[in-house]
């Protein structure tokens, strides 16, 4: 968001900047940054008390958990901030790009396959974006529809076939590649985060997305092609989902039509835990990134500590509830 250094706002603080009396200001400040604090605490706690967490091999696993879902979440942030709640169709999108990469690179080469995947990613982005942006249809329903169509067709075409690449092939190599102690996919995640962050916070397009999320009508009446902005948001999400599909496929050197089940809500959870507003307008890629790190570390230490799947779900859900409740309280404190 734009800051104006030359003007100070003494008493009349903006809804963004916390509120008048310093006590509630403190509360607001702490609460609205709660997720950063929690993440820090969680990391320290894990490093000290969770056996093996700090080991380099485990860091790699954490990043493996974080990269694919993180890339999706970062993409989805654009849809969320444009006040369109969620893109459910990322599930179908990830699987589509992953399967295309593994299934077609033998014939068309890795780049050829990626090009084809890109085509479908754009297709998803455009269909979703046009339906929501220009036909003014509700995003949740639209993407629910495109998921049914896309996943259905993918499953019809590929069945449950598991496509796998040659061991040591380029894709496998990418999946196993390390940069120093980190897996290559971690760097993909970070690069995507940085680029997305710049786009959202620094560019004209990002500004229009935030403005649209804040007030559709006013944005349109300012001469913004609001439909185009929405299409842009969904295309960015689709591109991210495509990259995530590549990363996920490369990680296990396999792809199957069911590979991305649950990625829709898990990605959204990351966006939300980061403290982005579902009402649109407010939020940042950095928040999403932190949200991703948080849930990845959480599930990692739950497994390390030998919790059963049941308890993992229970704890994750509880944490989401706690995080969002805190965010809501922060908002209240700011208002007061």
């Amino acid at each position: 968001m734009t800051h104006t250094e030359i003007i100070k706002t003494p008493t009349l603080a903006s809804t963004r900047g916390g509120s008048g009396n310093s006590a509630s200001k403190m509360v607001a400040w702490v609460a609205s940054r709660g997720i950063f604090i929690f993440t820090a605490v969680l990391l320290v706690f894990s490093a000290i008390f969770v056996n093996g967490f700090a080991s380099s091999v485990n860091i790699i696993d954490v990043f493996h958990r974080a990269s694919a879902i993180g890339i999706v979440a970062i993409g989805m942030t654009f849809v969320v901030i444009s006040a369109n709640y969620i893109d459910l169709s990322v599930v179908a999108q990830i699987a589509t790009s992953g399967v295309i990469l593994m299934a077609l690179s033998p014939t068309y080469g890795v780049l050829g396959a990626m090009a084809i995947a890109l085509f479908f990613a754009l297709l998803y982005g455009l269909v979703n974006g046009i339906s929501v942006g220009f036909l003014k249809a509700n995003a949740v329903v639209v993407t629910l529809g495109t998921t049914g169509i896309g996943a259905g067709i993918l499953s019809l075409v590929t069945g449950g076939t598991i496509y796998y690449g040659p061991t040591g092939g380029p894709i496998d190599a990418f999946g196993d590649a390390r940069v120093g102690p980190f897996p290559l996919s971690a760097f993909v995640l970070i690069v995507v985060a940085i680029v997305a962050g710049i786009v959202l916070s620094r560019t004209k397009f990002g500004f229009m997305i935030r403005s649209y999320g804040s007030n559709k009508q006013a944005t349109r009446l300012a001469g913004v092609n609001s439909g185009g902005v929405v299409v842009g948001a969904f295309v960015l999400t689709a591109l991210a989902a495509m990259i995530a599909g590549f990363v996920l496929a490369a990680y296990s050197n396999t792809a199957v039509s069911t590979m991305s089940e649950g990625y829709d809500f898990r990605a959204l959870a990351a966006v939300i835990i980061g403290g982005n507003s579902l009402f649109g307008g407010r939020g940042s890629i950095f928040r999403t990134f932190i949200g991703v790190i948080f849930i990845s570390v959480l599930s990692n230490i739950l497994v390390l500590s030998g919790f059963s799947f049941a308890w993992q779900q229970l704890v994750t859900g509880a944490v989401i509830v706690f995080a969002v409740a805190l965010d809501a309280l922060a908002r209240k404190a700011e208002k007061r």
């Binding site: 104006t4 003007i7 963004r16």
Partner: protein
């Protein structure tokens, strides 16, 4: 007709508020305010935008709880909360319409007090009470019609009927005439006098001082959240009231604008048809201010919105000519790109992103100028926004404060400011000063004149006749989506405009 001045002098106080303080964040909206209103009195509350009028009323109605101070009815202090105030007989007609679109007129009138038998709605009684309320204010409308299908004016009267249906002791109206035409306003005012005559205590908020002088007995004048003075209308003058409101000498130059030597045609619309617009031709020249008059529901907004492509046209073409080059206006985005600025009717929903800062709102239409290679230039934005904020006299001029925290008038200044940055060739304004106080209003008028003098073409829709007459070089009067007549300043006066608006064809020049 009877005016409040003949009303008998000694009556018992019904509602009394004392030492009311309300802060929003650090901002003091209402500061140590007291007010007393007697039965049968119509009491005006006037003040500039942001003076704290609406806030005070919301406190009286128990919707906002004050940080300190209390409200008492018949000497009994009220519990906090809307329910208590309602039961005590305080009914508020909000500044913004607060009806439920998908509910019927009857349901809306009894919203919150729906009569029931064992929880089941007693629709017979519901309709009876609603009908009575409408009769009391003398408005006829189908009780089963969903409010979403009513005209703005009708919605305003349903609001009032809702307040009346709670047969209140105290009736508060916050700028009820903002969306009404003179005829409707006239009707509303005499209706209020009837209600007062029956012993109702009425608090009346308006920026239209003449209305206040017509029906009110006393006026509490607010400035910056404080009571400046409580005046007895009979013993004062409009200018005195205005001076108190504004707190400075303010001469309203009400001379109508000399006809500018019309420059080249900038906007030309031919055969425009759209929803509730039935074939309209009109031209706007450089340096000319063209006014559109008519009744609410006449389709004036629809007309201008159709011309510049905000709403779809079903037929007709509009062209804009800039330094000799003529372009078709295809869609709104195209219109904006070719130098048109539009200030919409619905400030809060269409004019501003309320939770974004003033600077961000100003950036929106100027994003191209304020970014290079797709990247926003933050430093530039700050200065740019500040300059415009000062140009329109935003108070306080704090461009990184959320726009929603400014009062109506200041919000409108921001809406205008953000367009000035584009140095538009044509400015279209729909109700430019609705709910804007006299001070801000005259500043906005001066601004528009200056723009016209600099050669900008201006198209104004207004329900505020004095404003229309004061500003316009030429006035088109619209009815049922058609131009009924066109009046030049020497022909134009309240009568001639209303006559056309009401459908009487009179001979008109051009």
């Amino acid at each position: 007709m009877s005016t409040a001045r003949d009303a008998q002098p000694v009556r018992k106080t019904v509602i009394e508020a004392h030492d009311i303080v309300k802060r929003f964040g650090g901002a003091v909206a209402v500061d140590q305010v007291g007010i007393t209103v007697a039965a049968g009195e119509i009491h005006a509350v006037v003040g500039e935008n942001g003076a704290g009028k609406s806030t005070l009323m919301r406190i009286l109605a128990g919707i906002l709880t004050p940080d300190s101070g209390g409200v008492s009815v018949d000497g009994k202090l009220l519990e906090p909360g809307a329910k208590a105030s309602l039961e005590a007989g305080i009914a508020l007609v909000h500044q913004e319409l607060s009806l439920i679109p998908e509910m019927t007129v009857a349901e809306n009138i009894l919203l919150g007090v729906t009569p029931t038998k064992f929880g089941v709605i007693d629709s017979a009684r519901q309709r009876k009470i609603a009908g009575d309320a409408l009769d009391q204010i003398g408005v006829s409308v189908d009780l089963n019609e969903p409010v979403s299908r009513l005209s703005m004016a009708l919605r305003q009267f349903v609001e009032i009927a809702r307040a009346v249906a709670r047969n209140p002791r105290v009736l508060i109206l916050d700028e009820p005439t903002a969306t009404l035409t003179p005829a409707e306003t006239d009707y509303l005012l005499s209706m209020l006098q009837r209600l007062a005559a029956r012993g109702l205590a009425i608090i009346y908020i308006s920026h239209r001082i003449p209305e206040v002088f017509r029906i009110c007995e006393r006026a509490t004048i607010l400035r910056d959240g404080q009571v400046v003075e409580v005046m007895t209308i009979a013993e004062t003058s409009p200018n005195a009231v205005i001076d108190k409101m504004v707190g400075r000498e303010l001469k309203l130059d009400l001379q109508t604008r000399r006809v500018a030597d019309p420059g080249a045609v900038v906007l030309s619309a031919r055969g425009i048809r759209a929803a509730r617009v039935n074939g309209i031709d009109l031209d706007v020249r450089a340096g000319e201010i063209v006014g559109i008059g008519g009744l609410v529901g006449a389709g004036r907004s629809e007309l201008v919105r159709a011309i510049i492509g905000v709403d779809p046209r079903t037929a007709g073409t509009a062209t804009i000519t800039i330094d000799g080059e003529t372009k078709n206006i295809n869609g709104y985005g195209h219109a904006v790109r070719s130098g048109i600025a539009f200030i919409p009717e619905e400030r809060r929903t269409e004019g501003l992103a309320l939770d974004m800062t003033v600077a961000e709102n100003i950036t929106l239409p100027n994003r191209a100028a304020l970014s290079t290679g797709g990247f926003l230039q933050r430093g530039k934005i700050a200065e740019f926004a500040m300059r415009l904020a000062n140009t329109v006299g935003l108070r306080p001029p704090e461009v990184d404060r959320a726009a929603g925290q400014y009062s109506g008038g200041n919000q409108q200044k921001v809406v205008i400011a953000k367009w000035l940055g584009r140095e538009p060739k044509l400015i279209v304004l729909d109700e430019p000063t609705r709910g804007v106080d006299v001070g801000a209003k005259s500043e906005i008028h001066r601004l528009l004149r200056e723009l016209a003098d600099q050669g900008t073409a201006v198209l104004v829709v207004s329900s505020d006749l004095p404003e229309l007459l004061e500003l316009s070089d030429v006035i088109h009067v619209v009815r049922d989506g058609r131009i009924m007549g066109t009046l030049s300043p020497d022909e134009a006066n309240e009568r001639s405009v209303m006559a056309l608006a009401a459908g009487e064809r009179v001979a008109s020049s051009s």
